[in-house]
């Protein structure tokens, strides 16, 4: 009789962190293959069109820029939280709250009429305030699960997933109610934000905005300094790797959880505000129906792929941008080959889920040695 057994042991000595890029590319490759097999099982899609569509997604890199920017921002937000083992799966909701904050400031607040007057000299201040308010609301939205985790030990993951839907509802309520627009051609949505509050297009790159590119750079450098150079960053890292050591060193574990949740939520809210001011310009009803691009969820994969290594956020965001654009491309270019009604959403979710699973499994080789023992 042949017996097969997996022997898994924790390794202390050898650190295999150098192979991280290899783990990333292997996860992507295996993730694609497994996703294909899953999709093939239901659709009998031929491999040539599947993989050639993926190739053409990568080739049209310009289309990846916009998701890349937002996934970098949100990925950084979630990564910072991951350093502290705060599993921020609520970036989607924080992102929506950021949109609400921005649109409130530029359209419905007393400040809007004051700052966005005819001459436009103070429009920059309005934009800055709008982004700040978005960040603030995002951080409030993230603070609640942070406080609950710190003081009542409730797992933040289910709370945040539920809160994402509440955020959608708040947005829908405002869009259909108090903030409903007058010039909407029968759609339920807000009016467009004032022209002067829109972000600035970079000439020659229609898809880019100065402010967004600047924000990505500032947030990224800020996050790096926070994590690697400050006492708070050290505390966040110890919280994530060994909370008991944090406490026995005489630090307040709870305070650190709350702070890291607020910082992470701030960045996610900021991303939402930038999105609204730079791309969407309005809120539409049924925002949970794909109108956010599900960036807040997709960015979870970015944070996992770059697990506790900020340097890897950008490459991971690129991979994930390709994966999520791939879903949309498949829907468009394979229309006749797929059952009608099968949406980009379905493909994106499968790619993300499978890649995450593959990565999670492969990653254990960094900390454990896995031996397959076969006995006769």
């Amino acid at each position: 009789m042949v017996k097969i057994s997996l022997v898994v042991t924790k390794r202390y000595k050898k650190s295999v962190s150098t192979s991280t890029p290899a783990i990333l590319s292997l996860s992507l490759l295996l993730g694609l293959v497994i996703s294909y097999v899953l999709i093939w099982f239901f659709t009998k899609l031929d491999p040539a069109s599947f993989f050639s569509t993926f190739y053409s997604t990568l080739a049209s890199y310009a289309g990846l820029l916009e998701p890349l920017l937002f996934l970098s921002l949100l990925g950084t937000a979630i990564s910072v939280a991951f350093y502290g083992s705060f599993w921020n799966v609520g970036a989607e909701g924080q992102y929506v709250l950021g949109m609400l904050g921005a649109i409130y400031l530029v359209m419905f607040s007393p400040a809007s009429s004051m700052l966005l007057g005819s001459d436009g000299t103070t429009a920059g201040v309005a934009k800055l305030l709008a982004v700040a308010l978005g960040g603030f609301l995002g951080s409030l939205w993230s603070l609640l699960p942070g406080v609950l985790k710190a003081y009542t030990k409730i797992g933040e993951v289910p709370v945040m997933l539920l809160m994402n839907y509440i955020a959608y509802s708040i947005s829908d309520y405002l869009t259909a109610g108090p903030w409903k627009g007058r010039y909407t051609y029968g759609y339920i949505r807000t009016d467009l934000i004032p022209e002067s509050s829109k972000l600035t297009v970079i000439p020659g790159f229609e898809i880019l905005r100065y402010e967004v590119v600047a924000a990505v750079a500032i947030v990224f450098i800020g996050a790096y300094l926070l994590i690697e150079r400050t006492w708070l960053g050290l505390e966040i890292k110890v919280l994530g790797s060994n909370p008991v050591a944090l406490r026995s060193s005489g630090r307040d574990e709870k305070k650190t959880i709350v702070l890291v949740s607020a910082i992470s939520g701030f960045i996610a809210g900021l991303a939402g505000a930038l999105r609204l001011l730079g791309y969407d310009y309005r809120l539409a009803y049924n925002i949970g129906d794909g109108k956010t691009g599900f960036y807040g969820y997709t960015a979870i994969l970015v944070a996992w792929l770059s697990f506790r290594d900020l340097k890897l956020v950008l490459p991971s965001a690129l991979i994930v941008s390709a994966l999520s654009s791939f879903g949309y491309r498949m829907q468009m270019s394979l229309k006749g080959l797929l059952p009608p009604g099968v949406s980009a959403f379905a493909f994106s979710q499968i790619f993300i889920g499978v890649t995450l699973a593959v990565y999670t499994v492969i990653r254990i080789t960094k900390e454990y040695s896995v031996k397959l023992v076969v006995a006769r």
């Binding site: 050898k14 150079r229 400050t230 708070l232 050290l234 890292k237 026995s248 005489g250």
Partner: protein, 507 residues
């Protein structure tokens, strides 16, 4: 008993087992033969590889080289499931029982003859009967968390007996039992033997091995020194085999440390006043604990594993809330004021598991040093790095650079670093919890002498919590015994008798 073999039959043979751990050769080509109806003792110091050997026979660890034969056939034990199906059962020092389940549930769990749909009640009578046969009644419906240490070990024996195991591995189980209860345990083991089973008794106590075993195999640094027949048993000879040349040295150390410092008429630095605390389940784990430690005094606290030592240490450093009672450091009431205040009051902590309690393995030495300090905004990286270099040199820590993550250091070096950091930063009080669990014997003795020196030279008060009576006797000025969460006796070093302490430990 039909399933067991007549005495003297070769049951299990271990051939050339080798096992390496990072930086350690735990077992070096170990071979051993076990026969039916024998009690075979594996004797060795801590770290000699005896537990590793037992765990390989039990299928918990897999060997790097070598093999195991059962009844003449080579077998691969990939996991404990295989081992149990060959009739091998392992009882560790801390019993493998689930605390929140009842005794009956813990027994039923391991019984293979009962299907998954067997009712818990169906095995109750059998369990009661077995307890009666062994002669130690235990309430079958009690939760394990309510049982004493001795009772838990009896539950393990009952499980082994009901499983009809052929080879029973007993790992340091009797070490901390007082003489009278230990005698009764030997009785159980002899009964097992008389039924045709094999008992492998793992111990580091020569007297224990010589008392009860038919044969003794001595291990030293992962190698078999010799296997002795009963006729060759001679305590001094066995001891020499066990310790090698180090024997005389460790004896010397014991004598050198017997000078006692007198620390009377001084105000206590640490004072626990009728302190109670609760376990995770909510039940009390420390009951009415009163302690006081004077400047420069080393108070040893000894007890068998699971008597509340861990919880006591956690209370002392502020990790565990006090339910009632007060805790003072240098006159300051620090009850439930958290590690922030307690650490600032000058209390340091060296634990059995530095990577659990004190350090973050993922972070570098520099960052872990920084963890012991407070600051605002930006880290003074240059300063921290040079301070880390200094400690690396001063304490002889084998680390490639200050930026090396702590987890890649060997266990001994992690402990050294943790000790270095705490000795640098503990101003008034040092809480030490089971250091010998992660240190080899030799480092323990240099550590204990360093502690004694430091306590006298810089007036440091030390609370030294340990499971090892030898260690506590070696290091302490006064000794308190903890049992079932209570301090059951406090003695000065001169006034104490070993036998009294042993009895108290399992009360």
């Amino acid at each position: 008993m039909s399933m067991f073999f007549p005495p003297g039959r070769l049951i299990l043979r271990v051939v050339g087992l080798t096992k390496r751990f990072p930086g350690v050769l735990a077992l070096d080509r170990v071979s051993l033969e076990l026969y039916s109806s024998e009690i075979h003792s594996i004797l060795g110091e801590n770290g000699s590889g005896k537990s590793t050997l037992a765990k390989i026979i039990a299928g918990i660890y897999t060997p790097d080289e070598g093999y195991i034969e059962i009844l003449g056939k080579s077998v691969k034990l990939l996991n404990p499931i295989d081992a149990v199906s060959y009739g091998i059962y392992y009882i560790p020092q801390t019993p493998n029982l689930i605390e929140r389940l009842t005794v009956v549930e813990n027994v039923l769990m391991v019984m293979r003859s009962y299907g998954v749909f067997a009712r818990t009640s169906s095995i109750r009578d059998l369990v009661v009967e077995e307890f009666r046969r062994i002669g130690s009644p235990v309430d079958p419906e009690a939760r394990v968390s309510e049982l004493s240490y001795t009772q838990r070990q009896v539950v393990e024996l009952v499980r082994a007996s009901l499983l009809r195991v052929r080879v029973l591995l007993v790992d340091e189980v009797t070490t901390y039992l007082p003489t009278s209860i230990r005698e009764r345990f030997y009785g159980y083991l002899r009964k097992m033997k008389s039924e045709g089973r094999t008992v492998l008794l793992i111990t580091h106590k020569v007297s224990e091995a010589v008392d009860v075993a038919d044969r003794v195999t001595v291990l030293r640094s992962g190698r078999v020194v010799r296997t002795l027949e009963r006729a060759e048993f001679d305590v001094d000879y066995v001891r020499r085999l066990m310790f090698g040349e180090d024997y005389s040295a460790s004896e010397l150390l014991k004598n050198a440390l017997s000078s006692i410092s007198i620390t009377e008429n001084r105000r206590a630095v640490v004072k626990l006043d009728r302190v109670w605390t609760a376990s995770e389940n909510g039940g009390p784990v420390l009951k009415d604990v009163e302690l006081s430690v004077k400047p420069g005094e080393v108070l040893g606290i000894v007890g068998i594993s699971g008597s509340g030592q861990r919880e006591l240490a956690e209370v002392l450093v502020g990790l565990r809330p006090v339910k009632s009672g007060r805790y003072y450091v240098d006159g300051l009431d620090v009850t439930n004021r958290g590690p922030e205040v307690i650490r600032a009051a000058g209390v340091g902590f060296i634990s059995e598991a530095p990577l659990y309690y004190n350090l973050s393995g993922d972070l570098s030495l520099v960052e872990n040093l920084a963890l012991a300090i407070r600051g605002r905004l930006f880290l003074p990286l240059k300063l921290l790095t040079s301070k880390t270099r200094e400690l690396i040199e001063k304490y002889g820590i084998a680390a490639a650079s200050p930026k090396t993550p702590v987890k890649v250091l060997s266990g001994g070096n992690v402990m050294r670093f943790a000790i270095a950091r705490e000795l640098e930063f503990a101003k008034k009080v040092l809480v030490v919890l089971n250091p010998s669990r992660s240190l080899d014997e030799r480092f323990v003795s240099s550590f204990t002498s360093a502690i004694r020196k430091l306590s006298q030279s810089s007036n440091l008060s030390v609370i030294y919590i340990s499971e090892s009576l030898d260690e506590v006797l070696r290091v302490s000025d006064s000794i308190a015994v903890i049992s079932g969460g209570r301090i059951v006796g406090t003695f000065t070093r001169e006034s104490v008798e070993r036998e009294v302490l042993e009895k108290l430990m399992v009360m």
